[in-house]
């Protein structure tokens, strides 16, 4: 196992290339700049294409063009830039374009700051663009996990012809951690008969039409039924969650991304004081692992769940929906970029214990 100390953003870019991504369109915005920077040096080395677009909005439309042409393609940005991409993401969802979008979240709303935050949960998970659609959303909590998720993200994007979002808080991008990166110089990519590669009227391949306009009501109905059926399959097959120390726990922490690592430290602190606490960490935020969350929280031993977030309570809503009132779900978090400490989380649990 060859471990290499890598910065999160660069590890993401390299992992995308190892997953067969050969087209990247991006635009500068902190804290994700190292992704386009790395891609600009690396893509030419693998016969790929890096292009800096005039805006994040143009970048997602270039992704639409490249993805529609059959390529594995990615773009990345941070919160405000992801907001600019929303129409394009909705368009890719409706035109059934596989693509990967990395959001290195920063403080918001507005320009906010360039520190880490988790304020874009709703935007990613509830569909930030217009209309009924879903993107599959992965929330890594370490650089190794992010690297491991990249090939899966591209495979899922291709298999279900859908946008996939890697929702990482700024820490993931800016930290350096030892990472094992599986080399995959020539990945086998799936066939895409639907893609625009050229159309011979006398040939077998049908004419490609990449489109999201269905002006007749009945035609749009066919599309939305197709998307809905696909989302149901994704719900059945693609949920990912980590259960950490949840068996017979007295309390259950719920968190994702870097905050989940803080919670793991809190679990250890509490363990040392003889208080058994577990952590449920959704890895896919959509499809949301509701069953796992519910079953962990609904254990007889559990008094209550505590959702910990760097936001004003967004994951909280999905946790409450999953627990469905079977146990109280409390909240610890606030908007912006203040990172909770393990001691603060442990103290809150102790306070809940005394209540």
């Amino acid at each position: 196992m060859s471990l290499k100390l890598m910065k999160g953003c660069e590890a993401i870019a390299e992992a995308a290339i190892q997953a067969g991504c050969r087209y990247f369109f991006g635009y500068p915005i902190t804290p994700q700049n190292d992704i386009p920077e790395y891609m600009s040096a690396r893509m030419p080395q693998v016969g790929g294409c890096f292009l800096q677009s005039e805006s994040e909005l143009a970048a997602i439309n270039m992704v639409y063009g490249a993805g529609g042409a059959g390529a594995r393609v990615m773009t990345s940005s941070s919160s405000p830039g992801i907001s600019l991409k929303q129409e394009g993401i909705s368009t890719c969802a409706a035109a059934e374009i596989p693509c990967v979008i990395v959001n290195m979240m920063r403080g918001g709303p507005g320009l906010g700051n360039i520190q880490a935050s988790q304020g874009d949960y709703f935007q990613a998970v509830k569909g930030g663009g217009h209309g009924d659609y879903h993107a599959v959303v992965y929330a890594p909590s370490s650089i190794q996990e992010t690297v491991d998720l990249m090939p899966k993200a591209f495979d899922v994007a291709d298999e279900y012809r859908t946008p996939v979002i890697i929702l990482a808080d700024g820490l993931i991008g800016q930290m350096m951690e030892p990472v094992e990166l599986k080399e995959n110089p020539n990945p086998v990519l799936p066939e895409k008969p639907w893609a625009a590669t050229g159309y011979d009227p006398n040939g077998k391949k049908p004419r490609a039409v990449l489109n999201s306009l269905y002006i007749e009501t009945e035609d749009l109905d066919v599309l939305v039924d197709r998307l809905h059926a696909r989302y149901e399959v994704i719900q059945k097959k693609e949920k990912m969650v980590e259960l950490y120390n949840t068996e017979d726990a007295e309390f259950i922490l719920c968190a994702y991304g870097t905050v989940a690592r803080v919670c793991k430290a809190a679990v250890r602190l509490l363990g040392e004081q003889g208080v058994k606490v577990g952590l449920v960490r959704p890895i896919t935020l959509w499809p949301f692992p509701s069953e796992a969350v519910h079953d962990a929280a609904a254990q007889k031993s559990v008094k209550a769940a505590l959702t910990v977030e760097m936001s004003d309570g967004q994951l909280l809503e999905d946790i409450r929906l999953a627990v469905n009132g079977d146990k109280p779900v409390e909240f610890m978090g606030k908007a912006g970029s203040i990172i909770p400490t393990a001691e603060e989380v442990a103290e809150r649990i102790m306070k809940m214990r005394r209540a």
Binding site: E54, N61, Y64, G65, A69, A196, G198, V209, N211
Partner: protein, 244 residues
């Protein structure tokens, strides 16, 4: 008896939805004929705009994208970077290209993107019912300039051909019109030249076509063609603005 004029096979057999006397149909035919004549129909893709030509993916019998409003040049860029050996064109109206999509068209030209843009300038938003466009002439009445476009209020119309011609990446820019048979023939020659520019890999190419919109101008098709000659051509001079 030999056929000397017939519908090209690069057009599907779907009848156009355009209004009687609309210029889109004329240009669609010429773009399709040029694609056939240059022998590139098997490796050409088109990108349709949002506007009256939003259904162009039903009319051109080649691989087609339907882009978000104004973003066709970015979509075409993505396609061209994946298939540099193929040909790609964007087909856009003045709302799509000269308003919301200004950044995309300027940047595509600036990058010298090897794509061809067919830009239909009919000085109005057609599909949405006749609103003022950046190309609407001063004094021209529209549903959002009911007293006539006022220079003081919202400036004078934008000349895209001249603007893009200043960009080094632009290899061929011409403006033509549809108001006479001679100008229609000139338009087809310009379209052919633009595609040839792309085939030769010289850079970005665009043809801006002054086109009639009888319904939203509130004129007959014939009157609309005359209106182009009397009002549009003086403000939008015809000719080759750039040829690398």
């Amino acid at each position: 008896m030999a056929t000397i004029f017939k519908r090209t096979s690069v057009l599907t057999d779907v009848p156009f939805h355009y209004c009687p006397g609309c210029g889109h149909g004329i240009v669609h035919r010429m773009v399709a004929e040029v694609i056939e004549e240059l022998g590139i129909r098997n490796k050409t893709a088109g990108v349709a705009p949002v506007g009256c030509a939003v259904f162009a993916y039903n009319y051109f019998d080649v691989d087609m994208y339907e882009a978000a409003h104004g973003r066709a040049p970015a979509v075409a860029t993505g396609y061209k970077r994946v298939h540099p050996e193929n040909i790609v064109f964007t087909y856009q109206g003045d709302g799509d290209l000269a308003s919301i999509g200004t950044a995309e068209i300027v940047q595509a030209a600036h990058r010298g993107e090897k794509i061809t843009t067919i830009f239909i300038n009919n000085a109005i938003y057609g599909m949405t019912g006749g609103q003022m466009a950046p190309t609407t002439l001063v004094g021209q009445k529209t549903t959002t300039s009911p007293l006539g476009r006022s220079k003081e209020h919202c400036g004078e119309p934008i000349r895209m051909a001249e603007m893009l011609a200043t960009i080094n990446g632009a290899a061929y820019i011409e403006r033509t019109a549809l108001n006479s048979t001679a100008n229609i023939i000139r338009t087809k020659a310009a379209i052919k030249k633009a595609f040839e520019t792309q085939i030769a890999g010289k850079g970005f190419s665009m043809v801006e076509v002054l086109s009639p919109c009888p319904t939203n101008w509130g004129k007959s098709p014939a009157e609309s063609m005359d209106w182009i000659a009397e009002n549009m051509i003086p403000y939008y001079p015809l000719g080759v603005m750039k040829e690398a």
